[in-house]
Symmetry: D2
């Protein structure tokens, strides 16, 4: 009963499923590294912030941090 269109859809789905498995594997690897870091006494939550900051272009990051400081001063934070 499975015609050619059915096959095409099935193949697309199966490719997606294989890729999602790979993606999950890498996600697990990342989790392992964070756990290793945690065992070494590092704070995973702050490491994640670092990773986020390093993704930004340095100039953009500094600009963002500068504006944040201005707003913090306006609000009397710190």
């Amino acid at each position: 009963m499975a015609d050619a269109a059915d096959d095409r859809l099935r193949l697309l789905i199966e490719r997606i499923e294989r890729l999602e498995e790979e993606k999950k594997g890498i996600g697990d690897d990342i989790k392992d590294v964070y756990n290793e870091a945690k065992s070494a006494g590092y704070d995973a939550k702050i490491m994640r912030q670092i990773v986020r900051l390093r993704k930004m272009k340095p100039d953009d990051r500094r600009e963002m941090e500068a504006v944040l400081d201005v707003y913090k001063n306006a609000l009397g934070i710190d």
Copy 2:
């Protein structure tokens, strides 16, 4: 055909739907305030960071910022 159990489920669902509507209304109000802020020249994204920071207890926030600085120095950021 609708028995008492059906009614009970329906009433629960309807209460949820009413509450979700209210919640959506408030979400829209929040969006309006951000738009007003944007019109006044403020950066909405950074305002959201400020709101997040103000949710934290001051001591926790300072501690977090201090650790972040240590990590940034370790990584040579800035």
Copy 3:
């Protein structure tokens, strides 16, 4: 030291914070209803699906369900 611009920003932030509190309150109310439903033996996860389905226009929902069935048949699901 707080000038007029600082005040304006502070007022905007405070309005947002008030609205977010209200929003959180309603979110808690919704959670309460789901817990009540759970106590009555209902499955919260499926109730969420129901709420989602009821948000759709009936014709759109039926169309979507029809396509889903076609795909399920193509994949031999069921």
Copy 4:
């Protein structure tokens, strides 16, 4: 200025960054497949539902669908 602890942190961060890059690459591949499917006339949103359903154990899926039907009947959906 970089001591051994700094190096350790840096190496952990770099491992994470490499893994995140790989993960992003696979995410892009998945997106490509969905786009290919879309070009062939398939509905990506429903394909995602199919993928989700296929992740479930068949018995669990059928049980879930059965309960959903019960709730739909109780609410007069369909």
